[in-house]
């Protein structure tokens, strides 16, 4: 067996990994102190006050001490709140992707991962990423719940059918790392694994350019936009989609929603649920007509129109 198998911690290959490990080791240390303390007391007492054979002495009864009780109630409470705060800080970071993150779409299905890069490259059970650039994975599933887990990045998120979830990280170390499906999804759950390749940006660019030339997702989406006749309405009697992404949309019932990926997805698949103010429900529902990949490409296209600002929209951070 090679010594590599005796690791205790996976490689740290993302910007958050170090922080997670730090908290982990602090908590381990804290736990070790407590366990050694309590275990030590127990062992010491058990030996020191062991009953001698034959005799049945009865020690002085104790009745507890309020002071002690308060100490060992309040101290753990304070520590616990501290630990909560620390864990929460990391979590909040893990939950809020930076706005400039590169979006990669990940679709799970029994039992493989399909990945689509914005530049159009598609992969199965492999994910190539440039070093040092924040990446946001937009996850969905075509059937049951899966979960995209990269131990070296210390992060994971469930991929749910019917909606998008997101997960982000910044790879900080060139290399090849496992990713796993970590939500049980049926017979070949344990085969739903693959590799993340973190590459120098130059190498990444080479990789993107390699093989058969790919149509960027947005371009593919533009083509679909025409094939599915979206353009017959949008641009004429439908709302313009330029600048829509990440703007605040006023709906016909007066509420304002933030146009994130999920909003675009729903607007395409079930437009009647949320209707932009000033319009009626003429747009057909594309649920069951478009595949998950086509939806992704359409969304990529709509996002590419984001640069042209809509007059009424105000930019907000996600």
């Amino acid at each position: 067996m090679n010594p590599e198998s005796f690791r205790f911690v996976p490689e740290q290959a993302s910007s958050i990994a170090g922080e997670v490990d730090l908290l982990y080791f602090c908590l381990l240390g804290f736990s070790a102190v407590l366990i050694l303390g309590i275990g030590g007391c127990i062992l010491y007492f058990a030996v020191r006050y062991r009953r001698k054979p034959g005799e049945v002495p009865t020690p002085k009864p104790v009745h507890g001490a309020l002071r002690l009780e308060l100490i060992w109630t309040i101290t753990p409470l304070v520590i616990a709140l501290g630990l909560f705060g620390w864990g929460a800080r990391i979590f909040i970071q893990e939950q809020t992707p930076p706005p400039d993150a590169m979006d990669v779409y990940v679709v799970g299905k029994q039992w493989m991962w399909k990945i689509q890069h914005p530049e159009g490259k598609r992969e199965i059970n492999e994910l190539h990423l440039p070093l040092g650039k924040p990446v946001r994975l937009i996850l969905t599933s075509m059937d049951v719940i899966h979960d995209f887990y990269v131990p070296a990045f210390r992060t994971k998120k469930d991929a749910l059918p019917g909606t998008y979830t997101q997960e982000w990280f910044t790879p900080t170390k060139v290399g090849k790392y496992h990713f796993f499906c970590s939500q049980y999804c049926g017979t070949e759950h344990s085969k739903m694994i693959g590799w993340v390749y973190v590459m120098e940006p130059v190498r990444y660019a080479e990789w993107l350019a390699s093989g058969t030339p790919d149509v960027p997702a947005a371009e593919a989406g533009a083509a679909l936009f025409h094939t599915f006749a979206c353009d017959t309405c949008h641009g004429q009697h439908g709302p313009t989609l330029a600048g829509l992404y990440r703007s605040n949309v006023k709906l016909s019932d007066g509420t304002v929603v933030f146009a994130d990926d999920n909003y675009l997805r729903n607007s395409i698949l079930q437009p009647s649920a949320q209707i932009a103010a000033g319009y009626t429900t003429v747009m057909p529902a594309y649920k069951g007509i478009l595949s998950e990949e086509q939806v992704i490409q359409l969304i990529a296209y709509i996002k590419s129109l984001a640069s042209a600002k809509r007059p009424e929209s105000t930019e907000v951070k996600p």
Partner: protein
């Protein structure tokens, strides 16, 4: 107080202890029941929050008239159940049997009316599954989510109906025993307990009615 008839089971010391034990047991059981329906109520709240328009729309497909009528029927049955317990407390056998039968009859009426409603839903294609044939022509109403409402509707009313059926069966059992003079002013715990159960089922409906039928603004 224990004048006659009541059997003291071996594990108890006296009838008072026995009686307080069975009543407490029944209340504990009802607490269980609250959470049994509670799971459905949570689901309802979650989906109504997510799909307010569809829920309002779907709710308007139900007949408020029949729903109101049914609520009234159940409230009356609760009254007659209370009167049955009252009669039992006095050992008034005829009155007890009479009110038990009235309660049962009202319960059966409720189920019959409910049955008619369900039939209408079936005919109108609101029963979820392959039979569901509703197509939405209304803005902001997605037929799929109307189906979701009806899923909840059928499970909730179905489960409530099942409880009613069990209640009616219990009442039938009590009626037979009561008419044979099994109960007396010192021995009517089964009637009291069934009464608690019956009222509880009534309370469930008191909540289901506004949740399912009265989602606002029927005039508009």
């Amino acid at each position: 107080m224990a004048d006659s008839g009541a059997v003291l089971h071996e594990q108890f010391d006296d009838l008072a202890q026995q009686h307080s034990a069975v009543t407490l047991g029944m209340w504990a059981f009802l607490a269980t029941e609250v959470l049994f329906f509670g799971g459905l109520i949570l689901s309802y709240v979650v989906y109504r929050h997510a799909y307010p328009h569809e829920f309002q729309f779907a709710s308007h497909q139900l007949s408020v008239k029949l729903g109101t009528l049914n609520t009234a029927v159940l409230l009356c049955s609760s009254l007659s159940m209370a009167l049955a317990v009252h009669a039992a407390q006095f050992g008034a056998r005829k009155r007890l049997v009479f009110f038990l039968i009235v309660t049962m009859a009202l319960g059966a009426t409720f189920l019959t009316i409910k049955g008619f409603e369900w039939r209408t839903d079936w005919v109108d294609g609101f029963v979820p599954g392959s039979h569901f044939s509703f197509v939405s022509h209304t803005p902001r109403v997605d037929a799929r989510k109307v189906e979701l409402f009806f899923c909840l509707y059928f499970v909730m009313t179905g489960l409530h109906g099942l409880h009613m059926l069990i209640g009616i069966a219990l009442l039938g059992f009590l009626t037979v025993h009561a008419s044979r003079g099994k109960y007396s002013s010192g021995n009517f715990a089964p009637i009291e307990l069934t009464g608690l159960y019956w009222h509880f089922v009534d309370i469930v409906w008191i909540f289901l009615f506004p949740l399912l039928y009265l989602i606002g603004n029927h005039a508009a």
